[in-house]
Symmetry: C2
Subunit: 141 residues, 2 copies
Amino acid sequence: MPHSTSAPRLGDLERVVMEHLWEAATAAGAGFGGATVREVHDRFSGEREIAYTTIMTVLDRLAKKDLVTRERDGRAWRYFPADTREALTAQTMRRTLDDMEVTDRRAALLHFLDGATSDELDDLKAALAEIESRAGSRRRP
Amino acid sequence: MPHSTSAPRLGDLERVVMEHLWEAATAAGAGFGGATVREVHDRFSGEREIAYTTIMTVLDRLAKKDLVTRERDGRAWRYFPADTREALTAQTMRRTLDDMEVTDRRAALLHFLDGATSDELDDLKAALAEIESRAGSRRRP
DNA sequence: CTCCCAAACTACACCGCGTCGTAGAGGACG
DNA sequence: CGTCCTCTACGACGCGGTGTAGTTTGGGAG
């Protein structure tokens, strides 16, 4: 069971920084890339003027919220997203569902699907099928 | 940041007040109900000490966020939830999905379903079936 | 020993939300 | 009429979260 501590909300800058970390992760393959404060800060160059220490603060707060982890890399810290963007999104959506204390989940889900594109419905069906198959036949090759 | 049409987030007290409004709505049958500031305030009696004006402020802010509407009822205003709890929940969940700019929605949904109970999966399948059955009219451009 | 870099700590402004207080406007009623 | 009561309108204060950054400190590279 992954950490069930409900996902904290992100501010705009926090989200953008996470963005960079996720990019760094995928760019480095599944083996994880992560980034130092300087690397993240450099990504902002030309795009936006922002202080190095601002990035440090943001990364520090993200770490305190357990949204990122960090490891030493020489004298600097290297930051890694604690979850994929998709996992964090799912946690946040679930938290909403819980917080709202919805009694009629079916109705809520119906409303949710009501605003979905057909592509999304396909995605959902695919996801559902996968879950089912996973639950139905435990143990697969 | 152009997401003004999306659902704003609720604070704790705001949520509790919405709670009362939703109760009032269902208790009075579909379509009517609503409550005045005094009625909402009275609901808190014995359960919690809170100022009348606090309720007024909260209801006022909810109205500014378009989460409730109001009509004159004598000298007082009568407040009505703008959406059902389920609809608001769905909007918030969708907003999360949009804000996070998830590229792989299928993965996100998969994570979401991963934390679902089997009852919830049933609800989802039912909702999905219903959407499918009334196929043909798709909203959103 | 000196310099530079990165971390750590502190600071500050702003906004959202919980929490009220006070000032008025209009009925109700003696 | 004057008094009282009830609601609204408006504003205020404190606190926590977030964006933003400056200052201080400690440890390597010369």
